[in-house]
Amino acid sequence: MALSREQMAQRIARELQDGYYVNLGIGIPTLVANYVPEGVEVMLQSENGLLGMGAFPTEAELDPDMINAGKQTVTARTGASIFDSAESFAMIRGGHVDLTVLGAFEVDVQGNIASWMIPGKLVKGMGGAMDLVAGAENIIVVMTHASKNGESKLLPRCSLPLTGAGCIKRVLTDLAYLEIENGAFVLRERAPGVSVEEIRSKTAGELVVPDEVPEMTF
């Protein structure tokens, strides 16, 4: 069965290591914070200028001067630092963030990602996404494997305007966990009960299937 949003977040949380600085995009990536493993401590970077994002505030803590990159009110945890946007993106662009998790419309076998613009629809802007994908060494894209119409989002070549070129090495979908290597998607894990055949049928880009493709467990 396809992973739920919560399971996707859970799976990604297993990539977290103690002491990681992590930037989580809007949507499923945000949920990852709820599944940080026991004994692991991470610091969340919010690109508007906050390192060490804490929980949402209580009514008493609510402060209009304290928001995250999604413009939601937040708190700062112990050990946090706050700085201007140039410093924030110096961190990001300079490769100091250990892991970036973000959504996408499409990913292709060259590691290209499209996530910000659908021609013909109103373009609202890329925000910090282009900086994040260009700056991070370690990125995981999270998205459904196929669109609602059943069209694959793992492509030989992105059809939409790019957010970044050649920067994605890992993708988690509701069906599988894949790595991008030598111009192909390598199937590393399957969602519980999802067959290699189903994944293959929904992957438009070249798919490499190793001998062993373990099922994820939750």
């Binding site: 919010s46 505030p57 001067d65 993106f89 373009v123």
Partner: protein
């Protein structure tokens, strides 16, 4: 306002000299840390044909959004816009020009504008529509694009506390683009919640040194929250 006493007492005086067609740099991220009274004063003045550089363009009826109502903005340089219907309409009608810029590149362009760096290379945007028409160069096997600095005729900035020398500190994440706009404005105007006595701000804890600031005004702020999100 004389010598190092940069205080002005009215918003009219704060924006004296602002003219049609100028470029205005505005601090703020979303509705957080925006110079709300200076924006309101631009509306009151009716200045038109402005190029506005700001990460976002406010919402309908608040923040930079109010400048759309009388079509005062000709061009917007931002990373994320369209939180308001009027913006969308003017854009589709061709009444408004938009130059979308990645958030980090926008921050760095302003920083460069204040720091006398006319252009810099960044990997951000390489291979995307943002790179169109821009020089590409390889350094150590990676591709980068050349981006140019931004500076403005006016910078409008929201601080927390300032002294009369124009030294400013910002509160929490209301810092965001404010110090960058402050340094890149030819005339920089900062509105703050409190003007403190000289010597009260610790020198090594000042976010914007007074050298960047031309005028300081004390205001009162609504500080509207865009996405009120509470713990469950």
């Amino acid at each position: 306002m004389a010598g190092f006493d940069k205080r002005v007492s009215t918003y009219a005086e704060a924006l004296d000299g602002l003219q049609d067609g100028m470029t205005v740099l505005a601090g703020g991220f979303g509705l957080c840390g925006i110079p709300e009274n200076l924006i309101a004063e631009i509306r009151r003045r009716g200045t038109r044909g402005l190029t506005v550089v700001s990460n976002n363009c406010g919402v309908d009826g608040f923040g930079l959004g109010v400048l759309l109502e009388d079509r005062q903005i000709r061009k917007m340089i931002a990373s994320y816009v369209g939180e308001n219907a009027l913006f969308e309409k003017q854009l589709l009608d061709g009444d408004l020009e938009v130059e979308l810029t990645p958030q980090g590149t926008l921050a760095e362009k302003l920083r460069a504008g204040g720091a006398g760096i006319p252009a810099f290379f960044t990997a951000t945007g390489y291979g995307t529509p943002v790179a169109e028409g821009k020089e590409v160069r390889e350094f150590d096997g990676r591709h980068y694009i050349l981006e140019h600095a931004i500076s403005g005729d006016f910078a409008i900035v929201k601080g927390w506390k300032a002294d009369h020398y124009g030294n400013v500190v910002y509160r929490h994440t209301a810092q965001n683009f404010n110090p960058l706009a402050a340094a890149a404005g030819r005339i920089t105007v900062v509105e703050v919640e409190e003007i403190v006595e000289p010597g009260e701000l610790e020198p090594s804890q000042i976010h914007t040194p007074g050298i960047y600031v031309d005028r300081i005004i004390c205001g009162t702020f609504e500080k509207r929250i865009e996405k009120r999100t509470l713990r469950g």
